[in-house]
């Protein structure tokens, strides 16, 4: 029995296999519409997250399965003080597979200790969110037809953005990728990630605060939000905030086949005017999220 807690739990071969299955689902959805008939997915959301939960639920319904669960801790026995481990063990008696989100970091590792069914980490605080990374990988693979030899710009809050950290970890396993890390000084990637992953693995990367300067080189632009509360002082925030808002004019020097990604929700870091640009792929990315979750459910349930 397999779980998915961290994107690094999956080998490159498994990632590639799931991406291929997801592409096949997109091409032949009817062939998958009964694959999980009679199976139940439990979505245990100890903290609310509408889009991730709906994506999992839509994925299971499209596979012909059914869904049960809760969408906030108050409506679960966690409110009575039940441990995560006990909740997972109990729900394992009702469901065939579990997708869980929890505000505490590492909660899924505690959860799987006694689990009798596969558990998918649907986000544990600011720590891991592997199905977002799977979504990103499928999107890049569909847009570029490869996951190697790409120049990937990651822009915005690189310090606290867990999706950025996971994507760097995942893409660093494919050869010849180059990373351009675009952020204000205050929000650069954490030192441990820089040293323990990027430098140790000999990855090619550049740190810059200049989005427009980096633009012509990029194959992928992964945007994240720069949040006011991350700054030590208001002046710095006001000085920097507009530099990291993507507007159509900043795309003037971008490649014709650039793909713009964003884990969403967006607040104001991508102007709505960019949505009509054919290079904007973030809503396609949302759709891909459902397909890769379908492929993941099939894999963990060992449904051929």
């Amino acid at each position: 029995m397999r779980h998915l807690i961290d994107i690094m739990d999956l080998s490159i071969e498994e990632l590639d296999e799931m991406i291929e299955v997801a592409k096949d689902i997109i091409a032949n959805p009817q062939e998958y519409s009964h694959k999980c008939a009679g199976k139940k997915l439990a979505t245990l959301f100890f903290e609310p997250s509408t889009r991730t939960r709906l994506s999992f639920e839509a994925a299971m319904y499209e596979l012909g399965g059914v869904v049960l669960g809760f969408s906030e801790a108050n409506s679960s026995s966690a409110a009575k003080g039940e441990s995560v481990s006990d909740t997972i063990r109990t729900v394992g008696a009702y469901a065939d597979i579990i997708a869980m989100r929890h505000p505490k970091e590492g909660a899924p590792i505690a959860g799987i200790r006694r689990s009798t069914v596969p558990v998918i980490n649907a986000g544990d605080g600011g720590h891991n969110h592997p199905t977002q990374t799977l979504t990103d990988l499928l999107t890049i693979s569909r847009e570029k037809d490869r996951l190697e030899g790409l120049t990937i710009g990651l822009c915005g809050d690189l310090k606290f953005g867990r999706t950025v950290h996971s994507l760097i970890n995942a893409m660093s396993r494919y050869p010849n990728n180059k990373f351009i890390l675009i952020s204000p000084e205050e929000l650069r990637i954490p030192e441990y990630l820089k040293y323990e992953t990027m430098i140790k693995k000999g990855l090619e990367f550049v740190e810059t605060d200049d989005l427009e300067g980096a633009m012509p080189e990029l194959d992928i632009l992964y945007m994240t939000r720069v949040q006011r509360e991350r700054f030590f002082n208001e002046q710095d925030y006001l000085r920097l905030k507009d530099s990291y808002i993507l507007t159509p004019d900043k795309l003037d020097n971008a490649k014709e086949d650039l793909s713009i990604l964003h884990p969403l929700p967006r607040v104001n870091e991508i102007s709505v005017a960019v949505d009509d640009d054919p290079r904007a792929k973030y809503f396609e990315q949302v759709r891909n999220g459902k397909y890769i979750r379908m492929a993941l459910i099939l894999k963990l349930l060992e449904v051929a």
Binding site: S83, P103, K104, E105, G106, I109, G125, G126, Y192, E196
Partner: protein
Amino acid sequence: MIIGKIEDGIVLDHIKAGQGMKLYNILGLDKLDCEVALIQNAHSEKLGRKDILKIDKIIDVNLDAVGYVDPGITVNIIRGGKLAKRSHLEAPEEVVGIIKCKNPRCITTIEQELPQVFQLTDRENRVYRCKYCESKAE
């Protein structure tokens, strides 16, 4: 300063100066009923200054805990006033129940009876991270 010889017991030697008390606490030596001596800032050819712990009884020392604090520590077992065994340590791959995760957002802060597990992620720099939230051990 004179601290007497021990007949049957354990000497933890070559502890980096300043680490002796940390090791004393981690090993729970305050709970022993025998004599325990902590010598701080002793002269050392190798280290300049070092700490030494002498325990006047042969106890089960948690070698993982010692190796976690400093793999350079030597563990000497004394029997009948003579050195019976000397162990050189390595930093263990995993330590359980020795240190606590200090990340307030970690699941270990709320989950009942969840063991505190830290794993060695960087041997060169001896970095340990919480198995659950991956926060660095302080």
